[in-house]
Amino acid sequence: MDQTNLLTAVRQYSRQQHEPAWLLALREKAVAVYARLPLPKFEKINYADWPLEDFTRPTEQVSAEPSADLGAGQQFYSVGDTTIQLSLPTEAIEQGVILSDLRSAIQTHGDLVQRYLMQKALQLGDDKLTALNTALMTNGFFLYVPANVVLKAPIEITQYVDSRQAQNFFNHSLVIAAENSRVQVIQRLKTLGAGAAIAHLLVEVIAEADATVDFAGIDALSANTTAYLNRRGVLGPDARLNWELAEMNAGRVVADFDTELKGRGSEAQVKTIAIATGQQTQGIDTRVTNYGQKTTANIIQRGIILDAAALIFNGIGHIVKGAHGAKADQENRLLMLSSKARGDADPILLIDENDVEAGHAASVGRVDEQQMTYLLSRGIPKPVAERLVIRGFLAGVITELRSQRLRTELNSLIERRLTDEH
C-alpha cells in the first residue's frame, strides 16, 4: 500500500471511530514518518523478510466469540480488538485508578491519552515500526494510576491475538504511574486460533517521579504468529521500573525492550528469559539508557536454544554525557542444547561520561555437568534432570515474581516449551 492510500485509509478509519482531531493529526504525522524511516536495525537480528509490513487498511477486528478460557481473575481480557472482560477492585476505582481499552480511553480520558500517547516513552520519529503502529493501531489497554495510589494486588492483563482474522493486529497500550504511585502489571500475550497472524504489540510505561512499576510480561504467542513486540519505559526522578519478561513464543519474534532513565536517581531492572525451538528465530534487543545522574540500569538475559532455532540477545547499556554517577550492568547467558542451534549474546556498552560504573558478562554454553550429575545421582532420569537444570537456569532469574501462582504458571510454560514436539 502506498503512502497516499495508507493516508486515505487511516483518515477513513479515524473518522469512523469518531476520533478527536489531535489523534487524527498524530496518525497523519505517523504515516509520513513511516514512509520516511528505514526499518529499525538490531545487531545480528535479520527480520527484513518477515511479513511485518504486509497490512491492509486498518479495520476493527470483531471477535464475538471469546476463547473457552474466560480469563478468570483477569482485570483486562481481550481477544483481537474486542475487550471481553474489564474489572477493577472497588478500592482501586475509588482511588481514581483507570483501566479501560485504549479506544474507550480516547473518548473518555482523551486529555490523558493525548498527554502520554507517543509523547513520553515512545515518540514519533523513533523508528519505522512504531510509526506504523501509531498510524494503524486499533486498540490496546490503558491503565492510569493516580499520584500516591499504591495498588497491592496486581493488574492482570490477558490479550489474545486472534489469528482467525486475516487482518493484521496493531495493538498499543499505555501504563501511567503518576508520582509516588505503585503498581504491578502482569501482561500475558497469547494467540487464539491456528491461522497465520502478524502482530504488532506495543506497550508504553511511564513511571513518574518516585513511582514504582513492576511489569511482568509473559509472552506465549503461537508458532504461526509473527510478532513485533515493543515495550518502552520512561522514568522520572527516583522512579523504579522492574521488567520481568518471559519470551515463551513459538513463532518468529523481534522484540525491542527499551528503558529511558530520564529522572535523576531512577532505576530500571530488565530481566528477560527466552526459549527458542524448532526453526524459530527470536531476536531480543534490550536497551537501557542512563540520561539522569545517579541512575542505575541492570539487564539480565537468559535463554535456551534447541533444535535449529536461533536466539539473539542484544544488551545495550548506554550512558549519555552528563549522567554523572550512573551505573549500567548487564549479563547475557545462553545455553545451546543442539549442534544446529544458533545463539548470540551480545553486550554493547556505549559510555559517554567518565565518572560512571559499567560492566557486562556474556556466555554461550551447555548444561552444567555438576548439576546434572547431582540430579542423576538421586535417580532422576536424564531428560527430566536436564529439564530441571534448564528450568532452574531460566527461572532462577525471575526471582521477583511474587506469587507462587505466577511462578508455577511460568514453570509449566517453560516445561511445555521444552517438551513440545520439535
Binding site: D368, Q370, Q371, T373, Y374, L375, L376, S377, R378, G379, I380, P381, K382, V384, A385, L388, V389, R391, G392, F393, L394, A395, G396, V397
Partner: protein, 264 residues
C-alpha cells in the same frame, strides 16, 4: 536382604593427561542391616571408591566388579544405580537456583515409581514434615532453591533429608561429618540412625573417629594406598585414634607414603 559386593576393584583417574591408578584392588561386601565405616588418610582413594560405586564418569574402572544383588552396576548409568537402591550423600552437593527442594524431592521420589503410581501430594507432604522435624529443619528449607545459599551445615542436613525421603537400600555417606559442629553432627546422626533396620545399609567414609561415636559401625575398614588394609569392629577406630594411621602402617609393615608424613 540386599547385598552390595565390590570385587578386586581397580580404578584410575586422568589428571593433567596422566592416568593414575587410585584404587588398586578393593574388596568389600555390604549387607542391608549393616553399618560399615571406611577410614583412612587423605588421598588414599576413599572418595574415589564412593564416586565409582555411584558411577561418576570421571573415574575409569580398570577391572573388578560392583554388584547389587548379583546385578552388575558398572554397566548402569548414575540414575539407574540410584533407582536400583544406591544413595551417595555428597561432600559438595551442587546448587541449583530456580529449582526448589520440594520439586527436586518429588522428582526423585516419583522417578522410582511408575507413571500411573506417582506419590500423592498429601502423602509426600506428611513424609516431608516428619523428616524436617526429625532433622530440626524449618519448613522454609523445603521451599528454598536446591542448596542455593545454604551453609555447609544446611547442605549436609539437606543431603540427609533426601536420604530420609528417598529411603535407598544403601547409603554412602562421604565425609558427612566434615565442617559440622557437634550439634549438627548429632542431628545428622539422628537422621541416619532413624533409618537403621534390616532393609538399610550404610557405608560411611570419614577421617575421624568422632562420627563413629554417633553412628556406631558394625565394621571398620582402613584404607591405605588404594586398598583396604585392615578390617575390624568399632574398637579399630579407637585404636586408630590413639595410634594414628602411621602406627597402623608400621604395624602392618606397609611402605605407603602418607600425605601428612611431612608434618612430623
Amino acid at each position: 536382604m540386599s547385598t552390595l559386593v565390590i570385587k578386586d576393584l581397580k580404578v584410575a583417574v586422568t589428571e593433567n593427561e596422566q592416568e593414575r591408578l587410585i584404587l588398586k584392588g578393593v574388596n568389600l561386601t555390604l549387607k542391608t542391616g549393616e553399618t560399615h565405616a571406611i577410614m583412612g588418610p587423605n588421598g588414599t582413594g576413599k572418595s574415589t571408591l564412593s564416586e565409582t560405586i555411584m558411577g561418576n564418569p570421571a573415574y575409569r574402572v580398570v577391572s573388578g566388579s560392583v554388584q547389587l544383588d548379583g546385578v552388575n552396576l558398572l554397566d548402569q548409568t548414575i540414575d539407574q544405580r540410584a533407582r536400583a537402591g544406591l544413595f551417595l550423600a555428597m561432600q559438595y552437593p551442587a546448587e541449583i537456583k530456580g529449582v526448589t527442594n520440594i520439586e527436586f524431592l518429588r522428582a526423585a521420589i516419583n522417578a522410582r515409581r511408575a507413571d500411573d503410581d506417582q506419590q500423592p501430594v498429601t502423602e509426600f507432604l506428611a513424609q516431608l514434615d516428619r523428616n524436617l522435624a526429625l532433622l530440626n529443619m524449618s519448613d522454609s528449607m523445603a521451599e528454598r532453591y536446591l542448596n542455593e545459599g545454604f551453609s555447609g551445615g544446611e547442605k549436609k542436613r539437606n543431603e540427609i533429608l533426601q536420604l530420609l525421603m528417598i529411603q535407598p537400600k544403601f547409603a554412602i555417606l562421604d565425609e558427612i561429618d566434615s565442617g559440622l559442629d557437634i550439634d549438627a553432627l548429632q542431628v545428622v546422626a539422628k537422621g541416619v540412625n532413624s533409618l537403621k533396620g534390616p532393609d538399610f545399609g550404610t557405608l560411611m567414609i570419614t577421617h575421624y573417629q568422632r562420627l563413629l561415636n554417633y553412628i556406631v559401625p558394625d565394621y571398620v575398614h582402613v584404607m591405605m594406598d588404594g586398598r583396604i588394609v585392615k578390617t575390624g569392629g568399632p574398637e579399630l577406630a579407637s585404636t586408630l585414634e590413639a595410634e594414628g594411621y602411621a602406627g597402623l602402617r608400621d604395624e602392618l609393615g606397609l611402605t605407603v607414603a602418607l600425605t601428612d608424613d611431612d608434618v612430623k
